[in-house]
């Protein structure tokens, strides 16, 4: 079950500052909805634990994240893969950065997730609105953190 979202927002930070924030898992990951903990594996790979739950299906998802594209001040793309209760999920989150007037940065983002397994069968209809809510939380968090 594929879920895709995209959007654009502007923050009062330079592209390099935004980029530095995005590629630093210690700053970026706590903004993930229902974040529990993180373990850094190496410079580009880390393991994030998130609380997930839909209705009665609740548990912890361990998601292995990798920074797969990193172009300073221009672009950062993460890919993740993990098990969620009753299934598995892959995700890709990309951020394209563009300088905007007044030292601001326009962030164009694209989120894409593919959920498989019992959770997709049981809660397929609920996944999309839940994902939308969580993505919005992340974007709101990013905007707040980037001032």
């Amino acid at each position: 079950m594929e879920i895709k979202f995209s959007g654009v927002f502007t923050v009062r930070k330079t592209p390099q500052e935004v980029y530095d924030f995005l590629v630093d898992p210690n700053r970026f990951c706590p903004l993930l909805p229902d974040y529990q903990s993180m373990e850094i594996l190496d410079a580009k790979n880390f393991l994030v634990k998130l609380s997930v739950g839909i209705s009665h299906i609740r548990g912890t998802a361990a998601v292995k994240m990798s920074l797969v594209e990193a172009e300073p001040a221009t672009r950062a793309v993460y890919e993740g893969k993990g098990d969620v209760p009753g299934g598995s999920a892959t995700l890709r989150a990309g951020f394209d950065l563009q300088a905007a007037p007044g030292g601001e940065t326009k962030v164009s983002w694209l989120g894409q997730s593919n959920v498989v397994g019992r959770i997709a069968s049981l809660a397929g209809g609920l996944l999309e609105p839940l994902a939308k809510k969580n993505v919005q939380k992340l974007i709101d968090g990013l905007q707040k953190a980037l001032g």
Partner: protein
């Protein structure tokens, strides 16, 4: 040319058996009901054995993926966990299951657990065995599996392209291919007044959803090297034939038992892969009993679904009167990820090749493909219902296209009563039936003419009301020789059943069936038959239900499937009862110092007895049993063969079909059901609602009308559910979208219309009692509902091309119709216009 088959039955000498049936034909209450209604039934999950462990499967999230990492260490370390099993380990312990099909299908490595890759969502990849079920469930969550997704194959069209292969070792997704051609197709099309071309038709996946899910307890006794199973598999002798070579044990080392089973309808035939894993787990734990009780979600995802079938490029030739003269079509059956019972479905449909109709020229090109979906299993009406739906769709589409009403279209094409027994183009022999008479009764029951008037008035108001007919055949007692049409090396043919009837030491009449009833009332009908033979009441007949290898009342065909117990099971029971009756007569004649011809079976002051009409002396059953078993000094040598413990094997009168021509009698009896429905489609919600529903059944001579009517109600509910609610749909990633009852929405009493029920009797000339197997019903409501929906919506340009119809799909069909969908779906030519 009609072929006549006759079965031989021995006449009994004693008076009891020559008297007319007193109990057969009576609607007596089911003997099983008392036990089941009071909660005293014994099901697999009720069993608690000393030292029993519980197994939980870890299942694939993906429909198609490579397994890149599997780690059971955390699960194995959890307190209470006794052992784990992985696919690689299982592979080292077993051989792949045998494949029935030839060629490419033989190359499939079907292990009971995925080894390197998964091919359907829910496929087991590991198992955890623990002291309790809850520990096993928790431990299963700790198993770590990583996958690399592969493109899933999810439709017949995708499968045929072979772009992504479910089993690369096959080199193709095509599991079986064959052409069934009879008559002179091209000549029939040249001479046709009308040729109707029909686009893609699709019969959807649904299942039987029995109340009791699959369950098994396995014990691998290392001392005796025997595997004992207590399961709800409904064809245990068949399962043993798969398990024995896979597990590397002799078939005599596999002991099967079943008792009460909470429904099955065929779908439990293919649960043997789980039985294999449970046995391996028992072996690994030193012979401890292993219980597996499937959850509903597991059942929906990974037990078995009914076959999905797509019909392409159909051409129908008709004469100027709308009589169908030829059918030419291409069918693709989707058997899911593993064939298992397949490709038998690729021939079983041919039992009803022309449906209830006289069409003589037929060519059907059959392909079966594997896909990344749950493997299929025989589902009530197995393989025949898809063909019957196809034929009924043809009737309605041609009728509407040519302006012939749906009842008239059937009357012009039905096989006539006077043509019975009727030989179909492929050599099947329809034993008896009066389809036109059944339709007339159905129309009378529902008030056809009144509804026609109401329909006309409603249409003027803009309402969508449709009237539909579904004509189906319930072919029963199958000839396993048809397996040789699929694979001429298949070592199967004919059909047989065994039964045992005895007087036990205290003179009680005890029947051992060897059948595997799942709600069909075998205990009751068996008692009715025996009671008539012995001249006693069914209450005095004790029937031991269920299967038990150690009782030796089975053959390799034993199981409950293919609508046959009324013929095969009861013939075996009747034969054994007649043998017992003859032995009782011989023994009683000696004991009473009389002659057999003077004896009568009766009920005396001390229960059942044999009485000498001439001398008025009598001896009761206890006395007779006592003479044979514990008080036999002085018995003459001529009676030493009397055991009062009589086994009989019934053999159906079949020949091996002509494999090259795909010709021969594939089944013995043909019960029929004709259903009539009135349905309205709401113009705002597009939701269909059944306004009236009638079903007429003809299963030959009825053994117990109460049971027959119950079976008709059951199959009608199943079919209405399938037509309007139930669908094992997958999304484009191979996720099953109906893995709970909340999503699958099986039909309940709340969704059922009131049923009007009618019954006719066309006795079968091929069974000793004139009965025909029944209970599957040929999915009659699926055909009927589709027919009524098309009748409701045809004027809006809708052709019903799918067997599953909901408000949503009807809305989409109307949208397609508005954008020229009809024209692409149906095209008519008139090569020889009628004058």
């Amino acid at each position: 040319m009609a072929t006549t088959l006759r079965t031989k039955t021995k006449k009994t000498k004693a008076a009891a058996s020559s008297s007319p049936a007193k109990w057969v034909g009576q609607p007596i209450r089911r003997k099983e009901e008392d036990r089941l209604v009071r909660g005293k039934g014994i099901f697999v999950d009720d069993q608690k054995l000393m030292g029993m462990l519980h197994i939980r499967f870890v299942r694939s999230s993906y429909g198609h993926a490579k397994i890149t990492r599997l780690d059971v260490s955390k699960a194995a370390a959890l307190p209470g966990v006794v052992c784990t099993l992985t696919g690689a380990e299982v592979k080292s312990m077993v051989k792949p299951f045998i494949e029935i099909g030839p060629d490419a299908g033989q190359k499939i490595a079907d292990y009971p657990m995925a080894v390197d890759k998964v091919v359907f969502q829910g496929e087991p990849v590991a198992a955890v065995v623990a002291e309790t079920r809850l520990i096993a469930e928790d431990a299963a969550e700790l198993v770590e599996v990583e996958y690399e997704p592969l493109p899933p194959v999810l439709t017949a069209e995708e499968a045929l392209k072979d772009a992504s292969l479910v089993h690369p070792e096959m080199g193709t997704n095509r599991n079986w291919h064959g052409v069934f051609e009879y008559g002179n197709i091209e000549k029939a099309f040249q001479q046709a007044a009308h040729v109707v071309h029909i686009g893609r038709l699709h019969f959807h996946r649904f299942s039987s959803t029995p109340l009791e899910n699959n369950a098994v307890i396995a014990v691998w006794d290392s001392r005796s090297e025997r595997i004992e199973y207590w399961s709800n598999n409904s064809f245990p002798s068949f399962a043993a034939q798969f398990l024995s070579p896979a597990l590397g044990v002799g078939i005599d080392q596999i002991l099967m038992k079943s008792f009460d089973i909470g429904g099955g309808f065929g779908i439990k035939i293919t649960n043997y892969p789980y039985m294999a894993v449970c046995a391996l787990a028992s072996r690994k734990t030193g012979g401890r009993p292993i219980k597996w009780a499937e959850t509903r979600t597991e059942h929906m995802q990974a037990s078995a679904h009914g076959n999905e079938r797509t019909f392409f490029d159909t051409r129908v030739a008709l004469d100027k009167n709308g009589v169908i003269t030829a059918i030419d079509s291409r069918h693709v059956d989707d058997c899911g990820a593993y064939p298992r019972y397949e490709p038998l479905g690729c021939v079983i449909w041919a039992q009803v090749l022309p449906g209830a109709y006289r069409v003589k020229n037929v060519r059907i090109d059959v392909n079966q493909v594997v896909t990344n979906k749950c493997p299929v299993g025989p589902n009530r009406g197995y393989s025949r219902m898809q063909q019957l739906w196809f034929i009924e769709r043809i009737l309605d589409i041609c009728g509407h296209t040519l302006g012939v009403s749906n009842d008239e279209m059937r009357l012009r094409n039905y096989i006539r009563k006077e043509e019975m027994p009727y030989t179909t183009p492929n050599g099947c022999v329809y034993d008896s039936g009066d389809y036109a008479g059944m339709l007339a009764l159905g129309k009378k029951l529902i008030g056809w003419d009144d509804w026609k008037k109401k329909q006309a008035a409603a249409r003027k108001e803009g309402r969508w009301i449709g009237m539909g007919i579904g004509s189906t055949l319930d072919s029963g007692t199958n000839n396993f020789g048809q397996a040789q049409i699929i694979n001429n090396f298949a070592p199967f043919s004919g059909q047989s059943k065994a039964a045992n009837v005895k007087l036990d030491i205290y003179g009680e009449v005890v029947v051992s069936l060897g059948s595997v009833p799942q709600g069909q009332g075998h205990e009751t009908t068996a008692a009715q038959v025996v009671a008539d033979v012995l001249g006693i009441s069914p209450d005095l007949v004790k029937v031991k239900p269920g299967f038990d290898t150690e009782q030796n009342v089975y053959t390799g065909h034993t199981g409950t499937y293919a609508s046959q117990f009324a013929v095969t099971g009861l013939s075996a029971i009747h034969g054994a009862a007649v043998k017992l009756c003859n032995e009782i007569s011989r023994l009683a004649a000696w004991a009473l110092k009389g002659k057999e011809k003077d004896l009568e079976f009766a009920i005396g002051a001390q229960g059942p007895e044999v009485r000498d009409r001439r001398t008025k002396k009598s001896i009761n059953y206890w006395g007779l049993a006592n003479l044979v078993n514990v008080n036999n000094a002085g018995m003459p040598e001529t009676l030493w063969d009397v055991t009062l413990n009589c086994r009989h094997v019934y053999h159906a009168p079949f020949q091996v079909p002509d494999v090259k021509r795909k010709y021969g009698n594939l089944t013995l009896t043909y019960a029929a059901q004709i259903h009539v429905a009135v349905i309205e489609v709401d113009r705002e919600t597009f939701q269909p609602k059944i306004l009236a529903y009638a079903c007429v059944d003809d299963c030959g001579r009825t053994i117990n009308p109460r049971i027959v009517e119950g079976q008709v109600h059951g199959c009608t509910a199943h079919g209405i559910g399938a037509a309007l609610m139930e669908n094992c749909a997958y999304d484009s990633d191979g996720n099953l979208m109906a893995s709970t009852f909340s999503d699958y929405t099986p039909i309940t009493a709340m969704n059922m219309p009131d049923l009007l029920y009618g019954h006719m009797e066309s006795p079968s000339p091929f069974s000793y009692n004139g009965a025909k197997g029944m209970g599957e019903g040929g999915a009659a409501p699926v055909h009927t509902v589709c027919a009524a929906l098309q009748d409701a919506l045809y004027s809006s340009g809708v052709i019903i091309d799918d067997s599953h119809n909901t408000g949503d799909s009807i809305f989409r069909a109307l949208q397609r119709a508005g954008s020229g969908g009809f024209a692409s779906m149906v095209r008519v030519e008139h090569p020889r216009p009628s004058r």
